[in-house]
């Protein structure tokens, strides 16, 4: 086969290929001609516009729903966190609390030289109160929390680093069952101890007691912030 013949064949084959490809394409997805007249076009346009509006409305609706969901989720989260924080603060004694409980008044038993209210006595009383299911305690206006120091400094008793005032000293205790707590206090070991120290404790149930909040910073010595897991 000489060169001329080859190129002839090649040219014919090439044209044939193009024609075949065009024919294939045309038969597989033919060009559809638009044969609508003006009125049909207008009607179709109107229909499409309506459809667009419907779709837009739908989008708007779902967008609003999405916004709603997101907002409620955010709100719920913050609400839950605030509630948890509030609960924790309450448990830590950082908020003012009120409720039914008993009011204990400490006074000298006998006239004469004023006795001293030793820290051990207060500590024992508080331990006993806690044993009897007291919920919140304050002594002479000082809220007792888990880290409250009760100690003697230079012969004076300090609670929360504040010296105790003069008699009578009020101890406020909030409990679910004030009557029961009072009965237990009357018969408690602490009451006898107080008497031995020339002190008298008198307890009265109260329907409404308000305990002040612990207002000093809480020093955390032995805890570290947990690393946030990523």
């Amino acid at each position: 086969m000489n060169n001329k013949r080859k190129t002839g064949f090649a040219g014919v084959a090439c044209v044939l290929g193009v024609m075949l490809a065009i024919q294939f394409q045309t038969t597989n997805n033919p060009v559809t001609r638009d044969t609508r007249d003006m009125w049909e076009l207008r009607a179709d346009l109107e229909k499409e516009k309506q459809r667009q509006q419907d779709l837009n409305n739908e989008i708007k609706k779902y967008q609003a729903l999405l916004d709603d969901y997101e907002q409620s989720r955010k709100k719920e989260k913050t609400e839950a966190m605030e509630k948890a924080l509030h609960d924790l603060k309450e448990a830590a004694g950082l908020t003012e609390v009120s409720g039914q409980g008993i009011l204990i008044t400490v006074e000298p038993f006998n006239e004469g030289e004023a006795p001293k209210l030793y820290p051990e006595l207060i500590r024992r009383l508080i331990n006993e109160l806690n044993r009897y299911e007291a919920k919140d305690i304050s002594v002479d206006g000082q809220r007792i929390i888990s880290t409250t120091p009760i100690r003697e400094v230079n012969g004076e008793t300090y609670i929360n680093n504040q010296p105790l005032g003069s008699f009578p000293i009020e101890i406020k205790v909030i409990a679910d069952d004030a009557q029961k707590l009072q009965n237990k206090i009357i018969a408690s070991q602490s009451a006898e101890d107080f008497v031995r120290e020339n002190l008298y404790i008198d307890s009265k149930p109260q329907n409404q007691l308000t305990l002040p909040a612990y207002d000093k910073p809480i020093r955390v010595k032995y805890m570290k912030q947990a690393k946030e897991e990523l």
């Binding site: 086969m1 001329k4 013949r5 080859k6 190129t7 002839g8 064949f9 090649a10 040219g11 014919v12 084959a13 090439c14 044209v15 044939l16 290929g17 193009v18 024609m19 075949l20 490809a21 065009i22 024919q23 294939f24 394409q25 045309t26 038969t27 997805n29 033919p30 060009v31 001609r33």
Partner: protein
């Protein structure tokens, strides 16, 4: 022998890549043109094998056949007669003839070469 095949493939690729589409009304013409091109191609192969190939006849036959077929189909559309069927018939018969002759030639060549070995 590989050059025409390559050209065919190139033509196919070009046609598919160009994404040219013709209106549906004209597909008849194109199909007849394709048929004419095929007929010319196989005729050329047969002539080549029989040894009476002529370039001018081949090239002119290719274009002339295509134009004639398309013109016939066009005339048929205007006269209300399906004249393109005549073209399809003629080309189809010739195509079969040509392919049959090519087949015989190939077989005889093949048996000859087997006898020789």
């Amino acid at each position: 022998m590989w050059l025409p095949v390559l050209a065919l493939i190139i033509g196919l690729v070009l046609g598919f890549l160009s994404e040219i589409r013709i209106p549906v009304e004209y597909t008849n013409y194109l199909s007849i043109a394709v048929l004419a091109a095929l007929d010319t191609l196989f005729g050329g192969i047969r002539a080549h094998m029989q040894g009476n190939f002529e370039d001018k006849v081949f090239i002119s036959g290719f274009f002339f056949n295509i134009l004639l077929a398309a013109g016939l189909a066009y005339l048929g559309v205007h006269l209300g007669i399906d004249l393109y069927l005549a073209a399809i018939f003629a080309f189809g018969v010739r195509l079969f003839n040509n392919i049959a002759v090519i087949r015989r030639l190939v077989i005889s060549k093949w048996s000859k070469s087997r006898k020789n070995t």
